[in-house]
Symmetry: C2
Subunit: 424 residues, 2 copies
């Protein structure tokens, strides 16, 4: 990258709401999405909820001239729903499937069968290494009684860790996706604090689109109005997040969302609004070693959010153990019933009663066995995240003991860049 | 790290064969392992098959004065069995659980319930960033009819990708573990070619221990002699692999395995032999930009092994589809039987026949449904790995078109280091 050179990166993000047989006007919306992407010719288009691999293939064929590189991230039984289209060659790619992703018996939600994941692609643009991540976290079906909160927090931590560990040689890190979390939700704060990623909507000075940057708005004809009643302007759960690592500075020149009249069409492209951002990367101004901030440990946002996440996971862990214990009792009851039935049969009891109760008893033992196994596995997953959080908390406290504000080191360079830009 | 400074790293690796209720002399062996580790005071001890978290805790307490840092990698229902003990503080840690890990209905093997994984810990030693990985790949129960070959190859690829993407800023990469693969097996070659890791046994000039570096030998009283019949000297399936990234050079000063008389004791520490390596890291001699090797594409070992893995995964994919189709037919048959039984009941047929056949029919549908879902998920996982291999193959071919030998770039620096050492 030459001095004074600026890399412009135009990115598009959309949760496509593409569920075969269930989503309305699916084929028409996908067709119009393809036309729009071809017309706008972004550098990168990162999509979620493209549940049909056939739809991805159709889109790939259509976008081939403008976006020669594409990838569909396969996982779980149904898939991750994630895919990307790139104008530039993909140098490397991989993915990470989240350990915890809802409950298999919540068939009405179906999240468990999806294999929600984070996909990574590495691009080399103008001599810079760009790590672009796309993800879709577990849905929030009820804000009042969010049964998936713990799993979403665990996913946010796994996402943050995946980005943290895989982006160490990247010059630019970009994360797009549907986090199913409001900006001040624990998952969102945990992700941002641990990775140092910054929110395009909060950073840009040129925003056009839905009020408060919302990406699910009541004006959208596909949105369930009742669910959005507590939020008259809508909710902001889709994000473009970014950071530049040492030596570079990134800013969001402009950010747009689609609205009910833009792009023009009979219906919107999805039940979510798309995000379109123009990012600029340039050399960072010379850094003069920012003096470490000294703050009491209680005030460090990283430590606060790590503790909060740890507590939330503890609650989930207690619940997982409670369910496993309950399932254990049901297994015991079922086995007892089976023994009684066998005794009844041997003693020459009523054959019909034995036959009638045999199936439900076996079903009870097998069903409760599956629930037991599932929640024991869930507990292991939650313990694992807690242990990782504990380790980071330990390191953060050590940093604090040395008089430094505990935060990922990469942030320091970025903040310095900000200050320099403010002065320009 | 000062010029002319050499970092010595003493590592210990053992598959502990620690299965509660099943493994012989478990408590005694763990006690002696603890004594041995305390006495030898390694920098790092990386253990596999510590299936009981309680045993880990006991060991942790015992090793605390010598190894103040320790971590147990939790995953799956039973756990990953992986844990580490370190003399030095752990800076960071995370893990990746393999997507494919055997079949749930192979209860006699139990691998599916374990959540086999790779654990990563980052250490800062003398100013160097050391990424240490510990893993345990899926077992090979029969070499003649290895039903898990495809899954093991997929695991080896995920392991290689995890190392590749998380070690980009590491100065030294170390992988220890039980790969359940012989040195020339596909999984082993794939891992080594894609990561550039080198085998301590092949590299060292000072080896002491079992013949040919074997880590499962017939002399070990816990080993099933029958299984080792085709291999009179034993098999080598446990490894210490390493590499240094640009600017540094790593070599294995000496490597030892335990034998039937060392360490002295009534019985061995495990059914596997332990590996003990002393690694030396120093500044790399100045590099003069190695001239890219020109070779026809057919001869590139990376491309060859990628192709081989792709083909193997293709076979696994065909088998997964075959099982899913078969399960689909069984589901259809079960449903037909249920409809017939309902019709028989409505028509006033024999009540006992209906009752007798109802349970097996429901069981058939549910069982086949589970098999169907499992193999569809397996197919998605295999497709995912194939797509990643395809992408790497594409990039490797592009590199070849530019006249370069396709190989991970890190290898070039390492090879240059080798040449320099040979000249000294």
């Amino acid at each position: 990258m030459k001095p004074n050179f600026t890399l412009r990166l135009r990115v598009f993000n959309l949760n496509c709401w593409n569920i075969p047989y269930l989503s309305k006007h699916r084929a028409d919306r996908m067709k119009r999405l393809g036309d729009f992407l071809n017309m706008e010719s972004f550098d990168l288009a990162l999509l979620q909820e493209v549940w049909s691999e056939q739809d991805f293939e159709t889109l790939r064929q259509k976008l081939l001239p403008t976006y020669p590189a594409a990838h569909y991230f396969r996982s779980g039984l149904i898939g991750s729903g994630l895919c990307i289209f790139s104008k530039h060659p993909i140098q490397e790619l991989t993915q990470h499937v989240y350990t915890l992703n809802g409950y298999p018996y919540m068939i009405q939600h179906g999240d468990w069968f999806c294999g929600k994941a984070v996909g990574l692609l590495v691009l080399h643009l103008s001599g810079l290494v760009v790590n672009a991540y796309v993800t879709h976290l577990l849905a929030e079906y009820s804000r009042q009684k969010d049964v998936y909160l713990t799993h979403r927090v665990a996913q946010a931590w796994e996402l943050a860790q995946f980005i943290h560990h895989t982006s160490k040689r990247a010059d630019v890190v970009l994360l797009c996706g549907d986090l199913n979390s409001h900006p001040k939700d624990l998952s969102c704060r945990l992700l941002k604090e641990w990775t140092g990623l910054r929110d395009a909507f909060l950073e840009t000075r040129d925003f056009k689109g839905c009020e408060e940057g919302c990406t699910m708005v009541p004006q959208n004809c596909y949105v369930n109005k009742q669910e959005l009643e507590p939020f008259p302007s809508g909710i902001r759960i889709d994000y473009v997040l970014y950071k530049a690592v040492s030596g570079f500075y990134i800013s969001c020149k402009n950010l747009k969302t689609t609205t009910d009249h833009d792009p023009p069409g009979v219906t919107p492209l999805s039940d979510h609004e798309a995000l379109m951002a123009t990012l600029c990367v340039r050399h960072s101004p010379p850094q003069h070693g920012p003096s470490p901030t000294r703050r009491p440990v209680e005030q460090s946002p990283l430590i606060t959010v790590l503790r909060e996440a740890w507590t939330e996971l503890g609650l989930g862990l207690a619940q997982a153990h409670w369910w496993a214990t309950l399932a254990g009792y049901v297994i015991g009851l079922g086995l007892l019933l089976l023994v009684l039935l066998c005794a009844l049969a041997v003693a020459g009891g009523t054959w019909e009663v034995v036959m009638l109760l045999f199936t439900p008893s076996v079903g009870m033992v097998l069903g409760a066995g599956a629930v037991y196994f599932f929640h024991m596995q869930e507990a292991k997953g939650l313990c694992r995240v807690q242990a990782e959080l504990q380790q980071v908390l330990g390191r953060a406290r050590e940093a604090q003991d040395l008089g430094l504000e505990p935060q990922p080191v990469e942030l320091l360079g970025q903040q310095e860049g900000d200050r320099a830009e403010e002065q320009q």
